[in-house]
């Protein structure tokens, strides 16, 4: 019987949408006891985002919420109510980690500022995720997935090889900022847990969503500093082929080494226009690929994407089909690695969720339970975790702090 790496770690997740909840999921899927706090009456807005089965909105069937909240327990709590605030305080005292992605002033106004937390719960790790961080001239400003992605300069590279600059850059599909900020927060929190084993002390992690994006463009910052070179989405740089359109879809390839290039030339049947010895040099290709790029594109357009993908891989160069969701779900390599996890949720039903990119031999991650129903674990958390008596819990319910109509 294996155990999760973070078994025994207690986490309170007071967070919504993507960044904080993904951080919580990373820990929960590794065995941490994560209690997700949602505010009544509606809970996490991710419950309203969908996708929904059959396009019918239902707060217990939102795909975004279901994926991001596996392996957690869920309670409802209104921290604006005195009894709710007291309950949150008891929860924070119980916890090793508090994950929060509310606006900067939110916890402060509830009486949970970092200074208070630090004094009252010196072992607490407080993972604070905000759009711009807790300090600096833009601290406290609003931000979203879109603004952090573009403000952090990652959008300026998309879509690649745009020829029409009257159309704007785009962000990557989905919630790229939220996920990456959550991932970064997961690493920061895990590190702080490791540090705490040695020091006995908690810490504040001040994570800016925008900076988590800036960290991903460090190479492009380097290009500016080293070479006065600013990358962008326009095709002013020679293609190392990048995206190619095929008869039935697209492939993406990246050719760097000379043998990669020769592999492609062989696959194209050694055309005369690519035969010269000079092409076997990376600097030469960089300077001249533009001249024959259209011929390669014309050849690619005659190929089927999947055939090109696998034949190219057999030749030893990096190439892949731009898979859509259906293709990803049916991808043979994922099936053979058991990447997907079937999760059966009592309200939403059974779906196939992505697993984890890390297979761990001694502490494999797993989905401990499906995402919680709204308030599903309020009773057990208050009674068993926080030690509320039946009477105290009933009074808490009657106070309205758990939401309308919620009482033991």
């Amino acid at each position: 019987m294996t155990r999760g790496a973070f078994e025994g770690v207690k986490v309170v997740e007071y967070a919504t949408m993507v960044s904080g909840p993904y951080c919580g999921k990373l820990l929960a899927d590794m065995g941490a006891d994560v209690v997700k706090v949602e505010e009544p009456p509606d809970g996490d807005p991710a419950r309203r985002r969908g996708p929904f089965p059959g396009d019918e909105p239902h707060p217990e069937r939102s795909g975004l919420f279901l994926y991001l909240n596996t392996s957690k327990r869920g309670i409802t709590l209104d921290p604006e109510q005195p009894s709710g605030r007291e309950a949150l305080q008891r929860l924070v005292k119980w916890a090793d980690v508090l994950i929060d992605n509310h606006p900067l002033e939110r916890l402060e106004s509830l009486g949970f500022g970092w200074e208070t937390l630090r004094q009252e719960t010196p072992r607490l790790i407080y993972t604070s995720i905000t759009p711009y961080g807790r300090t600096g001239p833009r601290a406290g400003r609003k931000g979203t997935d879109l603004t952090a992605y573009h403000g952090g300069a990652l959008g300026s590279l998309l879509p690649p090889r745009s020829t029409d600059i009257s159309r704007p850059p785009v962000k990557a599909g989905g919630y790229p900022t939220g996920y990456h900020a959550g991932l970064t927060a997961g690493l920061a929190t895990a590190s702080a847990l490791l540090a705490r084993r040695a020091t006995g002390r908690g810490q504040l992690i001040d994570l800016s969503e925008q900076e988590s994006i800036v960290a991903l463009v460090r190479g492009f910052v380097g290009a500016v500093i080293y070479h006065r070179l600013t990358w962008s989405r326009v095709p002013d740089r020679p293609p190392s082929l990048g995206r190619m359109q095929c008869s039935d879809g697209y492939v993406v390839s990246y050719l760097v080494e000379d043998h990669h290039w020769r592999g492609l030339v062989e696959l194209m049947g050694n055309p005369e226009w690519a035969a010269g010895e000079e092409w076997n040099s990376f600097p030469y290709r960089v300077g001249n690929l533009f001249k024959i790029g259209y011929k390669i594109d014309a050849w690619a357009l005659q190929q089927k994407a999947e055939e090109f993908h696998h034949q190219g891989a057999a030749k030893g160069f990096a190439i892949g089909t731009a898979y859509n969701a259906e293709q990803v779900l049916n991808y043979r390599q994922y099936a053979s690695r058991g990447f997907f996890v079937d999760v059966d949720h009592p309200e939403a039903g059974k779906y196939r969720y992505p697993g984890w990119p890390y297979q761990m031999s001694a502490s494999p991650p797993r989905v401990g339970c499906p995402a919680p129903l709204l308030g599903q674990h309020s009773g057990e958390v208050f009674r068993d975790v926080l030690g509320y008596t039946a009477d105290e819990y009933r009074r808490l319910g009657e106070s309205g702090a758990l939401g309308e109509g919620v009482a033991s």
Binding site: T135, P169, Y179, L187, A190, S191, A198, Q203, G219
Partner: protein, 412 residues
């Protein structure tokens, strides 16, 4: 936040043997180094990390086509906070030195093609024989087992296969592949797995093997997209900058060439604030835009009205005005803009580090702040720079032995 340089870092006392190269693996090692681990990058002179000399594209300034091994920007930016050794990795004595290093280390990371580590006699079983508590992370394009385990890959290809490319781009345009950022994202996920394994080891004494798939790293970050297909039967496509619920939620053209402002409005209050900054407060009462649902329905009209306002105005000024008014807005920046951003400067995002061959340069450090400690930020290592420390002090080889190994070309 008060911080003392001398305070304990999360990974103090952890030693990492870093046999990665290119981009994703090296940044993973660099993250561990910034968190306090002693990371030893192992290279060989016959086949050093090829980004050491890599010139990205034709450059603005005349520069040599090949750089010296310590000058490459692509290497230096993702190899902060490490030591560097150079070894002959073909000869048995070189492999033997790696094993001795592994014996006194906690973590090994590598991203060579599937099967190469085994051929070198350094697979998990072999490493465990010299250090039963070792944690090995092997990172590959598609994972260490399965029909495509041997496929080569770079970031853009992982993005395509993992499903990210298909959903990125304008709705009527081709799919948009991401590039190096995918590597760095996967490095972050890999570092998380390593730290989790270190935590597990503290609890149980067990080491372990971590098999990391870069393509899966992409897919794990689009879970709801895969659920979308299963729940609705539709294949999710490209949506540009739009959001299913929010409007405005787009990039708007500003004064200048290719300058854009991102604006995202969620609530009616935010929309009223936007309307006030635009000096068109009446928009907030216009039935076409009075609720989120109405704004989304009339998004094209709304985008046209906002574009008309932004078109002849300065991007950065509008971002400021909107930010102060409580609206989420940001310029679409490029890397050059980032360098000048006073907010990022104030938060210490850029750190200047001196380097004996390139001179001082700014680098992007660790993407978060911790109370009580500062990340360990050190310039990237020169090729073979720390041979004497690692083989002498760490492994305890005497001077004569080191001289002999250098002489015979084992230590390079």
């Amino acid at each position: 936040m008060t911080a003392r340089q001398t305070d304990r870092l999360p990974l103090d006392g952890v030693r990492v043997v870093d046999m990665t190269w290119v981009w994703a693996g090296p940044y993973l090692g660099s993250l561990l180094g910034m968190l306090g681990a002693e990371v030893i990058k192992v290279e060989s002179r016959s086949r050093p990390d090829f980004f050491r000399r890599f010139v990205v594209w034709p450059l603005a300034d005349a520069e040599p086509e090949e750089l010296g091994p310590n000058e490459g920007m692509m290497f230096n930016t993702v190899n902060l906070s490490k030591l560097g050794v150079a070894l002959n990795l073909v000869r048995p004595e070189g492999i033997d030195l790696i094993k001795r290093l592994v014996a006194v280390s906690d973590v090994v990371i590598e991203n060579m093609r599937a099967g190469i580590l085994k051929r070198m006699g350094l697979d998990y079983e072999a490493l465990r024989a010299v250090n039963p508590r070792i944690i090995l992370l092997s990172s590959s394009a598609r994972g260490g087992a399965g029909p495509e385990a041997h496929y080569a890959g770079y970031a853009s290809v992982h993005h395509a296969v993992g499903g990210g490319t298909y959903i990125t781009g304008h709705p009527d345009g081709p799919p948009g592949y991401a590039i190096g950022d995918v590597d760095l994202m996967n490095a972050t996920a890999g570092a998380f797995a390593v730290v989790a394994a270190l935590y597990h080891r503290k609890e149980t004494g067990e080491g372990q093997f971590i098999d990391f798939s870069q393509c899966e790293g992409v897919t794990a970050l689009i879970g709801e997209v895969l659920l979308d297909y299963q729940m609705t039967g539709r294949i999710p496509g490209r949506k540009g900058n739009s959001d299913d619920f929010m409007a405005p939620h787009n990039l708007y053209p500003c004064w200048g060439v290719d300058r854009w402002l991102a604006i995202a409005v969620e609530t009616d209050e935010e929309f009223a604030a936007l309307a006030r900054v635009m000096e068109k407060p009446e928009l907030a009462d216009d039935p076409r835009f009075a609720t989120a649902a109405a704004r989304k329905r009339n998004e094209a009209d709304l985008d046209a009205i906002i574009s008309e306002w932004t078109r002849l105005r300065d991007r950065d000024l509008m971002a400021c005005q909107l930010g102060e008014a409580g609206v989420a807005a940001a310029p679409s920046r490029d890397a050059r803009d980032l360098m000048r951003d006073p907010h990022l400067r104030a938060r210490g995002v850029f750190v200047e580090l001196d380097h004996p061959e390139t001179g001082p340069r700014d680098f992007v450090g660790l993407p978060w702040r911790m109370s009580g400690c500062q990340p360990a930020l050190k310039r990237p290592p020169l090729l073979g720079e720390h041979n004497d420390y690692v083989f002498g002090e760490l492994l305890g080889l005497d001077e004569a032995e080191i001289a002999r190994l250098k002489e015979s070309g084992i230590i390079e």
